[in-house]
């Protein structure tokens, strides 16, 4: 009918309307706060994962599926050159580098540790461990038998910058090889597991030790994390068209931990949303049922004047719609203010299995506001359906008799 009659009806009982708005707002604010916090955690993990893996990696399917025997999956310099030519056409690409990972055994004195060596091009701008080095220095182009070691491993081996450790490995031909490596830097990372098991060394020296000229993967960085999925598809099409036996995989497929955490966050938010939804639904149902009951005579009057059941239903739903929108907007506002306060405090938390505390914060933007806003609106509107149907179906004569 009109937008203002339902809105005007809301102000008739200000206390009840305020209570309804407060309930919807509280539910929305809680939902927004938790969702914003989880999304911030998710983004931090995304950034951390991308810094570890790049936006995407290109390698042989045998490497991804772990179906190769030995080092058959290595990418030759010729194949790498072909891929780099293809990548030149990608506008969103910001960098590409090679990497070679292989297992080894590192020893210092009586202590030994099984490790996974990540050999990379020193001083490349695409993906390095440089930012994590907190003691000593990162790898340099002039380095040969040098290594950057994790803090936890250094503590376990009781070694530091300048010390020498011995690396034992198997070459691509299956022969044993060993080499002394000088520790030039110590890095720290959010995961203790990574610190214990991952060593970084120059690619050319690693190829020398393994007796190969190949690499096992090409790491590609893009201008944005969000572009990853789209670029993976496009790059894979180019690779397939060129007839190369390689496969591009996005960072989120390369990190099972991210997928698990992301799934966990979804479940957490899902449960919370459900709880908020149920809470808002039943309280608003009760409030609206009472509010509509009090207006029985008025409903009878407008029905007697010629308002159809459908029009009454739509008017009541419109009232609830206003309530839903006002309540949810208020909730978003409260949640945003809470979030700003929370972000300003800068609370730190050290997740289990990590060595670095991270700052707890909340994402406040349109993308994190929308789902809680919709939860508030939908819960309120759904709770209004039953009392609205019931009220609109009242017999006119009965409704007019109510005092």
């Amino acid at each position: 009918m009109t937008w203002w009659i339902p809105l005007r009806s809301l102000v008739r009982n200000r206390r009840r309307t305020a209570l309804s708005i407060a309930i919807v707002a509280l539910g929305t604010a809680i939902s927004f706060f938790v969702y914003g916090f989880l999304e911030d955690s998710r983004l931090q993990i995304q950034a951390s994962t991308v810094s570890q893996f790049g936006n995407l990696q290109i390698a042989s399917t045998d490497l991804w599926e772990d179906t190769a025997e030995g080092y058959e999956y290595l990418i030759s310099p010729e194949l790498e050159a072909q891929v780099r030519t293809l990548m030149d056409t990608r506008g969103s690409l910001t960098g590409i580098t090679e990497q070679l990972q292989f297992p080894g055994l590192v020893a210092a004195g009586d202590e030994t540790q099984v490790v996974r060596i990540t050999a990379q091009v020193p001083e490349n701008e695409t993906l390095t461990s440089d930012g994590f080095v907190f003691e000593g220095r990162p790898l340099q182009s002039t380095d040969v038998a040098a290594v950057v070691m994790g803090r936890s491993l250094a503590e376990r081996l009781n070694v530091g910058v300048g010390d020498v450790v011995t690396l034992t490995l198997t070459t691509v031909d299956g022969a044993y090889n060993a080499s002394p490596l000088q520790i030039v830097g110590i890095y720290k990372f959010s995961s203790e597991q990574v610190e214990l098991q991952t060593l970084f060394m120059p690619l050319t020296f690693a190829q020398l030790l393994l007796n190969t000229t190949g690499v096992d993967r090409l790491i590609v960085n893009l201008s944005s994390i969000a572009a990853t999925g789209r670029e993976v598809v496009a790059i894979q099409q180019q690779i397939d068209q060129a007839g190369l036996s390689l496969e591009a995989r996005p960072w989120y497929d390369l990190s099972p931990i991210y997928q698990q955490l992301s799934g966990y966050f979804d479940i957490l938010f899902g449960f919370l949303t459900l709880a908020v939804f149920i809470l808002v639904f039943f309280i608003i149902l009760q409030v609206l049922t009472l509010a509509f009951l009090e207006r029985t005579r008025e409903i009878g009057t407008i029905r007697a004047l010629g308002t159809t059941r459908g029009e009454v239903f739509r008017q009541l739903i419109a009232e609830s719609g206003w309530l839903a929108v006002l309540g949810s907007l208020t909730g978003i506002l409260i949640g945003a203010l809470l979030g700003l306060g929370f972000n300003a405090i800068g609370l730190e938390w050290q997740p289990p299995g990590t060595v670095e505390a991270s700052v707890l914060s909340m994402q406040i933007n349109g993308m994190t506001m929308l789902p809680p806003f919709l939860v508030g609106v939908v819960a309120t509107l759904l709770s209004a359906i039953f009392p609205s149907i019931q009220t609109s179906r009242l017999r006119v004569v009965d409704a007019l008799r109510v005092e």
């Binding site: 009659i5 009806s9 102000v11 010629g306 308002t307 007019l400």
Partner: protein, 239 residues
């Protein structure tokens, strides 16, 4: 007051007919007749007062002829169409287009101003805003409330509220206006003013007015006087 010249002279075809109309309720397992075998006709321009004591069936009769309730037997015909054959939606349409209702307790919508209450039936008819505004202003002037247009019902006196209700009933230019105890909540002077207003509107617009009341002060305004007792109608002395 009850001279013939004060009523509409354009007497037309029967607008409203009730044939063998009855309404029964089941109370405690036994059937109670609220209205039985009523035959009734109202033509264009009639000003009819139906008088009777409490519980005589006045409101039941009004509910049936205003199409807000369905008869147990018999039928109501409005311009030849039986209300029993109409769906809920069609009955709502009939009330919206052809019937104006005035209630004992005014039944104004409390959150709307006097003008908005009068405008409400026009909103149902989906008339454009300029036409609604013009008609509401004219109608409020006609009932002498042009200065009260923005007031809410709780800011109006009983007489003013009932005049708003009269304006609301007439704003759609209905053929039939039904008033249920329109003076019951008013003092005698205000009640008289409201009745004079209704009589004038009947005269000017040739609308059928059926006023149900047990207030003897209303009877002198009648062109046709009908007595209702124990659910039966008896035509009285014509005005």
């Amino acid at each position: 007051m009850n001279e013939g010249s004060q009523f509409c002279h354009e007497r037309g075809e029967p607008f409203l007919e009730a044939v063998g109309l009855g309404k029964t309720y089941t109370v405690g397992g036994s059937m109670v007749y609220a209205l039985r075998d009523v035959d009734f006709t109202a033509a264009q321009g009639d000003f009819i007062v139906i008088n009777g004591p409490s519980g005589s069936g006045k409101t039941t009769f009004l509910n049936l002829i205003s199409a807000i309730d369905r008869p147990s037997h018999g039928e109501v015909r409005i311009q030849g169409v039986s209300t029993s054959e109409l769906s809920e939606r069609q009955l709502a349409g009939l009330r919206k287009e052809k019937i104006g209702l005035i209630f004992q307790t005014f039944n104004l919508i409390p959150v709307l101003s006097a003008a908005e209450n009068v405008e409400y039936p026009l909103l149902l008819q989906r008339l454009p805003k300029p036409e609604r505004t013009a008609r509401v202003e004219a109608m409020l002037e006609e009932v002498g409330l042009q200065d009260m247009a923005r007031r809410r019902p709780n800011e109006l006196s009983g007489g003013q509220r009932q005049r708003v209700a009269v304006a609301r009933a007439l704003i759609t230019r209905p053929k039939l206006v039904l008033a249920d105890e329109p003076t019951a909540n008013l003092d005698s002077e205000t009640g008289g003013q409201v009745m004079q207003l209704m009589q004038r509107l009947n005269q000017e617009h040739c609308v059928v007015f059926i006023v149900v009341t047990h207030d003897p002060a209303v009877t002198p305004y009648a062109q046709r006087k009908i007595r209702i007792h124990d659910g039966k109608l008896t035509e009285g002395v014509a005005a």
